[in-house]
Structures are given as C-alpha cells and as structure tokens.
C-alpha cells in the first residue's frame, strides 16, 4: 500500500481559489478551523481532481506542459 502511494506521489500544498487582488498574495484561511484534518480531507480530494483534469487533457492530445 505504501509502495502504491509512493508511486502515485503526494499533494504537497493546495492554494484554494484565485487571487484577484492585484497587490499581494492571499491565502484561504478558512480551512485552518479544521487544523490537521484539512490535510486529510483536501489532499485525496484535490489529488483525484487533478488526475481527472490532466488525464482528460491528455486524452484530448494537448501538450501537458
């Protein structure tokens, strides 16, 4: 199991939302209310969404980078 996670890799950080403010970089602090649980909740969900998004893109034969 651990080997599988190693092969699939990890989400290191997630900056949610856009930053339309044109003078500084903002970060969503709302998830701080959940503490460490925010990592447990967000990492797998975001990881799955990223895989879905980029695999769809690959299928449409667009260059990845």
């Amino acid at each position: 199991m651990i080997g599988l996670f190693r092969r699939r890799g990890r989400v290191l950080a997630v900056k949610l939302g856009y930053n339309p403010n044109s003078s500084s970089l903002g970060a969503d602090v709302t998830f701080l209310v959940l503490g460490a649980a925010s990592i447990a909740i967000l990492a797998p969900v975001v990881g799955a969404l990223v895989r879905l998004a980029l695999r769809r893109r690959e299928r449409r034969e667009e260059p990845p980078c």
């Binding site: 190693r6 092969r7 699939r8 890799g9 990890r10 989400v11 290191l12 950080a13 997630v14 900056k15 949610l16 939302g17 856009y18 930053n19 339309p20 403010n21 044109s22 003078s23 500084s24 970089l25 903002g26 970060a27 969503d28 602090v29 709302t30 998830f31 701080l32 209310v33 503490g35 460490a36 925010s38 990592i39 967000l42 990492a43 975001v46 990881g47 969404l49 990223v50 895989r51 879905l52 998004a53 980029l54 695999r55 769809r56 893109r57 690959e58 990845p64 980078c65």
Partner: protein, 404 residues
C-alpha cells in the same frame, strides 16, 4: 452535447515542472496544487523534468503576475499605494508593451494575472488584454473599485477567473478607510457582476478604524451572495505612507485578527483570505506549520511565486516594493528572472535573516513578514516590525496598543 456539458462541469488543469515536482493550476475548482515528483511522474508529466536536476531555491517562473495597467483613477482613495490620480502619473506603459508582457508571461508558464490599477477598468485595452491572456492559457483576474464598469466588461464573464471589488466597509464605514463614500458604487458593481454571472469577491483593506466593523462587512458579504472576502493589510506605500501610522492595526488587533477571522468564517460561512503580509499575525498563534504549508498560507514570496509591474511596466517582486534597478520591463522578464542578485531582498531573506526571525520555527512560512512594511521602517532586509514576536523580542510595540 453531453461532451459539452461535461467539459463545462469537469475539472481542467495545466501543469508546470518545478524542482520539488510540479505545480498544477486548476480551474473548476480553482486552485494551485503543488505536487511531488512522483505525482508528476504518475501523470506522465515531465519525466524527468530538466529542472529536477537543479537545486533551484525559487520557482522557474512566477505563478502569478500583478499588472498595474494604469495610474489613473477618479477615486482618490487616501491610502492608494499607486498614488493614482484622475490624470495619472504620465508614464503609463502602452498597450503594445502590455501585449508583449502577456506573451512573455505566457511563454514563461505564468498561470494567473491579477489586473489592477489605478482603476483598471479605465484602461481602454483591458478587455483586449484579458482576452489575449486567456487565449494564451493564463487566467486573468481583476480588481476594481466598481467605477467605470461598462456593458462590454459585464458581457465578458468567460474571460475572467474572478473579479474582486474593493469594499472596505458597509455604508459610512467605507469612507472611514478610503476617505470618500464609494459604498454604493462598490455594492452596485458587485450586484451587476453577479447578475452577469461573474465569480465575485471583495477586497477589504483592514485598518485600525475598520477592524471593529469587520463583522458587519462579512455579514453584508454573506447576505449579498459574496462567498469570498480577501482581507488586506494597510501598506505604507504611495499615499498610504502618510496615512500608515494612523491606519495600521494596533498591537491588540494584530493579535486578535486570526481568532476573529476564523470565528467569522464559521459564523457566516464565507471564505476568508488573508494577504501574505499578515503571515506574522497568523504564525503568532502557533498553528501547526504542516497545516500552514499545506494550505499555502505564507509570507513574502515576492520575486518568486509573485512578480509585479508598475504602471510604467517596470518590474518589482511585489506591487508594494519599488521597481528594481536593472530588472527592466515586464515584457523582458525571462531575461532577468535568473539573473544573479535579482529580487535578492526577498529571495535571500531565509538565508540572511537575523534575530528574532532566525530562531523562529515559522521562518520558512512567514518569511519575515512584509518587506514593504520593513522598508518603510528603514530596512527591507529587517524583520517585519509589526510581527508580534518581533515586537515582544525587541521590546518595541510598533503602533499603539489599542484603538484610542
């Protein structure tokens, strides 16, 4: 038809390799996702990427560029960091330069643009430029006071990722911060943008006088369907330099900020964002560093994750820092990005930090707080003087204790 519906609903993303692995910029849901090399490999992306063989300490390109499209603005807000006026400063860059800049930033792999001013809606080429950015794979976002929001812009929902309207307070509270009563203008702009289908947020500059009224503004946001409020620290730049000592948060307010914000987020179910300059006020409460890192809550990444261009197109690490000598114009950024000594005050802060930052476990996250505030106090390489830990360690209490 089904494919069209799915294309609108399913997530989209773009990837870029970095030394640690890569960054994926998502749309629907919008997020920047930082992943390790194994994750990149598992997606078949960049295997192995040339950058993985390097020991870079900053990104290959910014993730976001802040472009001050004009120094013109009719509002005359008393704390304006651009020092914008109705006639402008007279050295605004041309449309051609901004077009070249968009092309350059897209080539470098920048994901997001934050377009502002002055009042960016007053730049006649705003929409054309935003469309150009979108066509090159970047997401343009916009900050506006709400002045000059025309039909053409309101019809361009698909071009922009999000539009934030500056609204520092509700009703008469607006004028407390800005020096003019623009509440109805801002509220009207929010309603018009929402009716046109835009994703809309609020930019709220928090001052000593508006801090006690923060809940009123967050409640108004909730009641008016605005789901995101970005809370900004007042900066001592432009006209803000003269106002800073009167407007900056008190010592007690800096300590109360994070608990107050989290309380409001729970109560009103509005997403609240704090700008990078407020990282010291967050770290003062000693949250788990791993959680802060995971959520991207961090201090100054000027000249790294972020780059800015002033209204003349000159490059700086952040909109609040002066244009750097020798870095030239934003349309030639790729030539300067890896130059030795570029953005050194911010890029090298971790290595050069003195006490009390050096012994602080939050240094890699907070990164010394706001360089612009430090510069205002005389030394851009010094710790942020308003950091609660700095104030305690040095025995100084930058700013008054309470709002009296």
């Amino acid at each position: 038809m089904l494919r069209g519906v799915l294309d609108r609903l399913l997530p989209r993303g773009r990837a870029r390799a970095e030394s640690f692995g890569g960054i994926i910029a998502m749309e629907r849901p919008s997020a920047l996702v930082f992943v390790d090399r194994a994750f990149m490999r598992s997606l078949g992306l960049a295997t192995p990427a040339p950058v993985w063989a390097t020991d870079r300490r900053y990104l290959t390109a910014p993730v976001e560029a802040h472009l001050t499209l004009t120094s013109r603005c009719p509002a005359r807000c008393r704390g304006c960091y651009v020092d914008a006026t109705p006639s402008g400063r007279g050295d605004d860059a041309t449309e051609v330069l901004w077009e070249r800049a968009v092309d350059e930033l897209a080539r470098m792999g920048v994901f997001h643009l934050a377009l502002g001013g002055g009042e960016a809606t007053g730049a006649p080429f705003l929409l054309k430029l935003a469309r150009r950015a979108r066509a090159r794979g970047m997401v343009p976002n916009l900050t506006t006071s709400g002045l000059g929001l025309g039909e053409e812009l309101l019809g361009a929902r698909a071009v922009f990722g999000q539009v934030n309207v500056s609204l520092d307070g509700v009703g008469e509270d607006y004028a407390l911060a800005r020096g003019w009563d623009g509440f109805e203008v801002a509220a009207g702009a929010i309603r018009a943008l929402q009716a046109s289908g835009f994703r809309v947020g609020i930019n709220l500059v928090l001052t000593r006088r508006t801090f006690p009224r923060l809940e009123r503004t967050v409640r108004w946001a909730r009641q008016n369907g605005v789901r995101e409020v970005e809370i900004l620290r007042f900066k001592p730049i432009g006209r803000g330099a003269r106002e800073f000592s009167d407007q900056t948060l008190t010592v007690d307010q800096r300590r109360e900020l994070l608990p107050a914000v989290l309380r409001l987020a729970r109560r009103y179910r509005v997403r609240l964002r704090l700008d990078c300059s407020m990282a010291p006020f967050v770290c003062a409460h000693r949250p788990d560093p791993a959680v802060l890192t995971f959520l991207g809550i961090a201090g100054c990444f000027a000249g790294d994750h972020l780059v800015a261009a002033d209204s003349a197109g000159r490059v700086s690490g952040c909109s609040f820092l002066p244009a750097e000598e020798g870095l030239g114009s934003i349309d030639e950024l790729s030539r300067q990005w890896d130059r030795v000594g570029a953005f050194v005050a911010t890029r090298a802060y971790l290595e050069r930090a003195g006490e009390p930052c050096r012994s602080c476990r939050y240094l890699p996250i907070c990164r010394g707080g706001c360089r612009a505030v430090a510069l205002h106090e005389g030394d851009a390489a010094a710790p942020d003087p308003e950091c609660p830990r700095v104030a305690t360690c040095t025995g100084s209490q930058s700013g008054p204790r309470s709002n009296s």
